[in-house]
């Protein structure tokens, strides 16, 4: 008789931070230094690309926490990103009438609006957590679909907040008088001879926020909450017997993940400068999931790499459409860059799951281990 198929509950690749610490920290530090130098050397296209990638990375870290650490699948991540984006825009925006549509706004200082928007996303997560905390991973995956569709419905029906289908302009962020925009007309901010426009300024904001998000995730994963979450992921029953309050920790993971999404949403809104409701749809949720899985479940660095890949791919293909074979300019024959990008990451996802389920982080660990052994 052939081998008996017994479902072995193999979960994601175990994260052992201590073993990889010696390599991970210098690598991250190098990455931060390199990224900090980027605005001095690359043009606006690359900076814009980076802004979207940073925003996606922050939100992806949150989803990675939920899926990789707590083992909860969510297809509703785009909803919380939308709450962050629109929360910030509404709280910091001012009431005004554009054409026939009236848009509301509280006109709060942008920094306060940012914090409140993140809290608002957390509150939304908390409201859903009676459902989220009681469901097993896969049930939650489908239940969270409700969030995306409810979100689309709410956004389409609240033109006062969202500006309706045409969207609304996002007020620029200012911190202590320093504006993350092009600055007052006629003035120019020069740093080491390089003019700092909106993109350069937002680049540093994105870098700083992503770095903080990474550090927070790292501490959380290494501390008691991280151990508790992984225990819940591997066996709820066992975790409960060890004294981990299972329901509370699942709700907690959902809360933190939705706040990450909210923060990513604020960054995304700032990067876009103008947001429309259809951006935050089912496809966006799926993209976040792809980022996290491509990067490697349970790894924040992996989530960041995955986010950069998925967020940049369509823009890169668009930019180099004329030199890449088989790609078409918009409206022309052939495969459009957006479609090609979707093919690209779907195939990457499938191949990766077949070959290295640990994702990019898993590949990285393999290389690192080989490197160590050879030494």
């Amino acid at each position: 008789m052939s081998k008996v198929d017994v479902a072995v509950p193999v979960t994601t690749v175990p994260v052992s931070p201590r073993r990889t610490r010696s390599l991970a920290l210098p690598a991250v530090a190098t990455a931060v230094v390199v990224l900090a130098a980027v605005p001095f050397y690359l043009d606006r296209f690359w900076l814009t690309l980076g802004l979207f990638a940073f925003a996606a990375a922050v939100a992806a870290i949150g989803l990675g926490l939920l899926l990789g650490q707590a083992g909860q699948l969510s297809l509703g991540h785009a909803f919380f990103v939308a709450v962050g984006a629109y929360g910030y825009t509404y709280l910091a925006g001012t009431s005004r009438t554009v054409g026939v549509s009236h848009q509301g706004g509280l006109g709060l200082p942008p920094l306060i609006a940012l914090v409140l928007a993140v809290l608002l996303a957390g509150l939304a997560g908390l409201l859903f957590s009676p459902v989220a905390a009681r469901l097993r991973g896969i049930y939650l995956g489908i239940a969270s679909l409700a969030l995306v569709f409810a979100g689309q419905h709410i956004l389409a029906n609240a033109p006062l907040v969202t500006g309706g289908y045409n969207g609304r302009t996002v007020p620029p962020l200012t911190i202590g008088g320093f504006g993350f925009d092009d600055g007052a007309p006629g003035t120019q901010l020069l740093v080491l001879g390089v003019p700092f426009h909106r993109e350069e300024r937002l680049w540093y904001l994105g870098l700083a926020v992503t770095a903080l998000a990474y550090l927070y995730h790292r501490n959380l994963v290494r501390g008691r909450p991280g151990i508790a979450l992984r225990a819940v992921r591997d066996s709820e029953l066992m975790a409960g017997m060890m004294g981990v309050p299972v329901t509370r920790y699942k709700g907690y993971a959902f809360l933190v993940s939705s706040m990450y999404a909210g923060l990513g949403g604020v960054l995304l809104a700032l990067a876009f400068g103008r947001i429309v409701p259809v951006t935050f749809d089912y496809a966006m949720s799926i993209e976040f999931l792809v980022m996290v899985v491509l990067g490697g479940l349970g790894s924040a660095a992996g989530a960041i790499v995955g986010a950069f890949f998925v967020a940049s791919l369509p823009r890169l293909l668009d930019r180099y459409a004329d030199v890449l074979p088989g790609l078409a300019e918009p409206g022309g024959d052939g495969v459009s860059p957006a479609v090609a990008a979707r093919f690209g990451y779907a195939i990457a996802l499938i191949l990766l799951l077949l070959i290295e389920p640990g994702g990019a982080a898993g590949l990285g660990r393999r290389v690192a281990n080989r490197f160590r052994r050879n030494r």
Binding site: H153, V293, L349
Partner: protein, 297 residues
């Protein structure tokens, strides 16, 4: 009252088609422990094939047969070559694999459809049947009849035939079934093939009148099979049928009484399946008929 009956008839006939979709989804889950997020893609592949064959003047029954075969084959291929190799990892990982398949298939079909709306070239057209005071589109009646027949056949097969019993054995206790000599791999493959075929049939009736036709947005209608399956309970065949009917009725009633539900905003009926699902999950975390998880310590 007439309006209510009208909506009821519309809801039941739509619900029967959802039940067909949810059935395939649940069968896959029972037989192979996979939540198949690629289910809408199977429907799209089936419906697209049928529409394309119809456009090239192939007779409708043959076109449907072609669509069913291609969708079933796709299900089989996905199971054999993509899902089976990683079946021993976690449920979540395998489900993410099906999401990858879904993106791939949907992107290609969306690209092929473009901005068109493909007609499915069904023989019923936009004719309606008058039952008492109620008008029901012929296509919907055909959908209801086909669904009832297919579901009935499936249930009989599932309860009585050798393969049906084998499938139930695997669903009940996979290791024991394997020890008894049930070829689990064959059972999984069979479930996926069935799911593909059923999805293609459902695709016919989801794109026929009164819907305008096959367009990329059809996939989001097909997504309603997920709440249907969850409402009934992911591992319950009967639940899938009940769930499908509940979703169909809820959607139809919410659409018909839209003006009375205006406080919920425009177009609430498309959110209705998900709203019902969340309400059910709040009360019963494993759906209406799903197996409750018992932990024996």
């Amino acid at each position: 009252m007439t309006q209510f009956l009208q909506l009821l008839a519309g809801g039941v006939s739509l619900g029967a088609v959802y039940a067909l979709l949810a059935l395939g989804f649940v069968v896959v889950f029972k037989a192979s422990d996979v939540v198949n997020f690629g289910h809408p893609a199977l429907l799209m592949i089936g419906a697209y094939t049928i529409a394309r064959l119809g456009l090239s003047q192939v007779a409708f029954p043959l076109a449907v047969l072609g669509g069913v075969l291609l969708a079933a084959l796709t299900g089989l291929v996905v199971q054999r070559f993509l899902v089976a190799p990683i079946a021993s990892t976690s449920v979540v990982t395998v489900s993410i694999m099906t999401i990858g398949v879904d993106i791939l298939a949907q992107t290609e079909i969306t690209r092929r459809i473009g901005v068109d709306i493909l007609s499915i070239a069904d023989p019923w057209g936009d004719r309606v049947v008058r039952l008492g005071a109620v008008d029901v589109p012929q296509a919907r009646v055909a959908g209801l009849v086909s669904s009832v027949v297919l579901i009935g056949l499936f249930l009989a097969w599932f309860k009585l035939s050798r393969w049906g019993i084998a499938m139930r054995a695997v669903a009940d206790d996979a290791p024991t079934a394997a020890l008894m000599g049930v070829p689990r791999k064959v059972i999984s493959a069979l479930a996926w093939t069935l799911a593909g075929g059923l999805a293609a049939v459902a695709g016919v009736f989801i794109t026929a009148f009164p819907t305008p036709g096959l367009q990329p947005a059809t996939a989001s209608v097909a997504l309603a099979a997920f709440p249907a399956a969850i409402i009934g309970g992911l591992d319950s065949i009967g639940g899938a049928i009940v769930g499908g009917l509940v979703v169909g009725l809820a959607e139809s009633l919410a659409e018909g009484y839209e003006e009375r539900l205006s406080f919920l905003g425009q177009g609430f009926h498309s959110v209705m399946p998900y709203a019902v699902m969340v309400l059910v999950l709040l009360v019963r975390p494993t759906g209406l008929f799903g197996t409750r998880e018992l932990h024996r310590v």
